[in-house]
Amino acid sequence: MSRAALWCLVGGLATGCGATPEPTGVASHDLLAALVGAWRVEGPVRSDCPVGLERHLPRGETIWTDRSGLLHIASATGETAPVLLEPVGEARLSRTTEVAVPGCTGRETLNLVVEQLDSTWASGLYTAVFSHDGGSSCAQLLAEAELPDRCDSAMDWQARRL
């Protein structure tokens, strides 16, 4: 019972059970405008997360759209979960989601770093980190469920504009 609940907690964190980020308005709109469009995305993924919690950008044909100042990245086939990120600098988009239950606050932090971007190519690093607030309830429950206190996924992504 507790194992299922924890998977659901972490899974919920991983997939956005929590507040949708609001754009700050101070980040680079140029970055968002330059990323909007259709891209083929590929790249190796590294992860120490358990099966089911590994995270990566949607692969293959993807559509990147501006949703009220947030970048929405969706697979053309709908196979992979979409990602919603907020521009937080000239070359970075991010999203942090926290979910709190009594005695335990979990956190998911997504980061999309854009290292190269021109009219035809883009590349960079996408990371997803799951962690918690260090509360004893979190640690104990995660241990009971044989889940790690923290796990990381990283994708060295490359994209070419379609």
Partner: protein
């Protein structure tokens, strides 16, 4: 202490009750123009969905081909029964009176950290007759050379793409391992699926290495001309906007290190979600209504130079 833990678990369950169950769901998707821009094909999908508030996990897809021979807004008619798997490719070759449907099922992780899935390609005649072109077996979809710590998508590993005039099917297959990769293309007569030519080996480029792990170059596939099939390689140090490619002509002439503009590779043939005039086609997820004059985010088929 036990009571406290029970309270925590109960709260978690309450907060995430919606996350736990899989529900039946469905939607329309993947609209494409026919090769002559006159008709539209699309897919109706059923699947299981698990709601996690702002995100939905999905699995166990079934797909049904829809088709109409006009571009009006009415929902296309069902052409087939539901078939196992999710659409990966759809091409409507109206001039030659068939549709190519590519499907795959859910990815399954293997004990070595790689993943595999079953892939199917079918020809669907416009009377609804379904004929298998290739597939039905398991293909490596993600390759891991370090026990699952990292992995990357494999090329293909199976794709079928009709020539721009619809008379020939290019059947691309690849196998990838931690030591080698091989790719081939076989040309089929689209009318009876007999082999016209091939298989022909497609020359590859060397992988890049991360320690002892090879990263095979991502491959773009397309018909670059009416009778030339091309495999373009990412990361080959080309001028921006171009790819180094290997090309195979129907008839067997194989050429390496051909420089092709990137726009040659998408769309890969004359049927896609962008018309020859550059319009896009969309389908309403819920109603199946068609919008054939949407803004397209990609160019029309063909090389700009």
């Amino acid at each position: 202490m036990r009571a406290e833990r029970a309270l925590v678990v109960a709260s978690v369950m309450l907060a995430f009750a919606g996350c736990a169950s899989w529900e039946e769901d469905s939607r329309y998707g993947y609209p494409v123009f026919s090769d002559d821009d006159v008709g539209v094909a699309a897919v109706y999908m059923t699947f299981e969905a698990q709601d996690a508030v702002s995100y939905t996990r999905t699995q166990n897809y079934q797909s049904q081909v829809l088709m109409k021979e006009d571009t009006g807004s009415a929902r296309p008619s069902a052409l087939t029964a539901l078939m196992t798997g999710q659409v990966r490719d759809l091409f409507f070759m109206r001039d030659e009176e068939y549709i190519v449907l590519g499907r795959h099922d859910d990815e399954v992780e293997r004990s070595d950290g790689s993943s595999e899935r079953t892939i199917w390609y079918d020809r669907v005649d416009l009377d609804g007759t379904v004929t298998s072109i290739a597939g039905g077996s398991t293909y490596l979809s993600m390759l891991s050379c370090d026990g699952g710590a990292s992995s990357s998508a494999t090329a293909g590993p199976l794709k079928v793409i009709p020539s721009p005039d619809g008379t020939v099917l290019a059947q691309f297959e690849s196998t990838s391992s931690c030591t080698e990769r091989s790719m081939s293309v076989t040309f089929l007569d689209a009318s009876d699926l007999s082999v016209l030519d091939g298989p022909h080996t497609i020359p590859d480029v060397a992988p890049t290495w991360s320690g002892s792990t090879p990263w095979w170059a991502t491959v773009d596939l397309a018909w670059s001309d009416s009778d030339v099939f091309a495999a373009g390689f990412w990361g080959s140090g080309m001028t921006p906007g171009y790819l180094s490619a290997s090309t195979v002509e129907v008839g067997g002439i194989v050429t390496e290190e051909v420089v092709l503009s990137m726009d040659c590779f998408y769309p890969p043939t004359s049927s896609s979600n962008t018309s020859s005039a550059g319009d896009g086609v969309q389908i309403d997820d819920e109603s199946g209504e068609i919008n054939a004059s949407a803004v397209s985010l990609v160019g029309a088929y063909g090389c700009s130079e």
